[in-house]
Amino acid sequence: MTSTDRDFVHSIWDFFCSLKLTMALLIGLAAISIIGTIIPQGALPPEYVQEISPAKLKIYKSLGFFDMYHSWWFILMLYLLTVNLVACSIKRLPHIWKTIKNPVTIFSSAQEKSLSGVVSFPHAGDAAAAKDKVAVFLKSEFAAPLVSESDGDWHFFAQKTPWCRLAVYCVHLSVIIIFIGAIIGSLFGYKGFVNIMEGESISSVMSRSNKQIDLGFSLRCDQFSVAHYANGAPKEFKSILTVLENGKPVPDYTNARVIVNDPLTYKGITFYQSSYGNAGNYFFTVSDLDGKNPVSVTVAGQDSVTLPDGSSMHVTESTKDVSEFAPGLSGPAAQVELHSANGKTESFIVYANHPELNIQHAQQHGVGPVIHYKGAQERMYTGLQVAKDPGVEIVWLGCLLMVLGIYAAFFMSHRRIWVRIQNGIVTIGGNASKNQAGFQLHLERLVSKLKTELSGEKKS
């Protein structure tokens, strides 16, 4: 390697070790992350596509703005951050390791100069007695000291929680572990979705990338139900599920209850209550304003039907008993959305027991049709989110390490005390890796206590 090569390698290394790079990456990541919260991600809503110009759409698409958290430049920044924190750790760790593993145990005058607030005072009696007293004192008041003799002088070194200097590297490591967990999850796991009709079973699910994934077992939906609060807000979405192996129910997974916030896991695959719907038929009678030309109309599930006057209709919600939503009314009701032939859209409620309300609504709008609800034949299905993520445990391990690391890095401190006995003089000093001022106060109290013990005065 020539010296210019070496300079080049050195400058690259320095670049990756620099905290300035860390600052730039952290602030840069914060700034560009905003893009994905403003621009829609994934499948674009049609209104959005209409709103922006085709040129803009093309530019955004080529820059990866519509899936920016997986774009090459965002991933690149995450890699840079990883390289940066690994490089920083490699550069600083050996020095920290030395501080912990090979501490300075001799309280030399050079060491003394590196500390502030060093105190000296004479001791009574001979050096050996003083030595024992200091050793006992440090052990009971601070930490067991390392005692050594050098040139006839006694040196003491005592420390507390030296390992907390490693905490910051533990936090850096935890970030990498979380990344590893996320990568394992994306390589070996999948996220999917499946709808199951009441009474039916499925053995494969559709992944987010629209791939059919075979589960290796079957899952049956025995029942789905919705419970409401008195004010009509949903209280519980509940699926009763049974796992089938070769068509036979698995004992511990038979009639298992799955609600929101309480999923079912079988063979590493977890099923989460996510949505529901009615795939049954809704029945209506549609007539002109004056009640002539009545026609029976059946709407299947979420489908839309075309009415005689050319408008189309679909059902958005239905209930067997409307009284819990509208006191004073009773019987079945359905909320329908009507797209009339001239492009107008309206959403309203039609009733089974209150034909006058249906007529009134139609009259208020001047034109027909009058829609009467005739009830429904319910057939519920449950919508389940399906996930397999073998990396998730690793992510939690990383999170645990991060929390412990941050705690130790912020709230624990490596405290050290050195003492020397030389020619009848005791010299004492120390420092802390954090909150030096607080430690100095603590040290001052220790010093005055030690002074009393070594002055030869008898305790009363």
Partner: protein
Amino acid sequence: MTSSMLFNVTAIAYMISMIVFFAFLASKNKTVGLVGSLTAYAGLAVHTVAIGLRWKESYDMGVGHAPMSNLYESIVFFSWTIVLLFAYIDIKYKYRIIGAFVVPFALLGMTWAQLGMNTGIEPLVPALQSNWLLYHVITCFLGYAAFAVACGISIMYLIKVALEANGSTAQAGGLMSMFPPLKVLDDLNYRAIMIGFPLLTLGIITGAAWANYAWGTYWSWDPKETWSLIVWFVYAAFLHARFTRGWVGKRAAWLSVIGFAATIFCYLGVNLFLSGLHSYGGGAK
């Protein structure tokens, strides 16, 4: 006596406390400062009782849950944590004047909640029926409150730097004598963020754990999640700035202010301007 009445009393106490703190700024009279603190503490006590009472009221209604389930309840809790943290700093570090820059945040929250929001107790929708709700909300909002306090301290820092650079007049110099020294403000800012950052980290992790338990995805780049990560990046930058030459002092104070602006956007802006999973008492996903 209802919790809503007590929340009104709380808001009034914080308003009085703020006015007294402003009088303290002007008069430099120590007794005035003490009155400011005591009023804030009285408000905090009433606030605490009111939150407990609201919790009990929800059980009396048969929809019992911790009062942290919608925007109104979260902002009431946020104000509570801000004053709690101010009390901690006031008692521990004895820099009472910080109250003049921190209590207004709590007052703003309480006033908005009491005057501009629906205060009714709502039953929990299925998505929120989980013990994670409590852990997630408490850690997040304690973190947010620490950032609010840090922001107040940073504003003090920036005012002091600006006035001192102007070769301040005798009057401003007099006011400045009330402010803690720059070094202390810088240190307090750091300490507040040292409390906030671990709590935000815990808040994000409990949120991820909950999301994984409810939906099977611990991270889905939902706007709320992304913004919490943005806030995390900003404060991580702040913490690293302490070890970087040229980034201490003024720039660090600005980072703290920007961090809190991002926090507020994460908390309110995302709900008001963007769509996502955190609809505060809206429908389940």
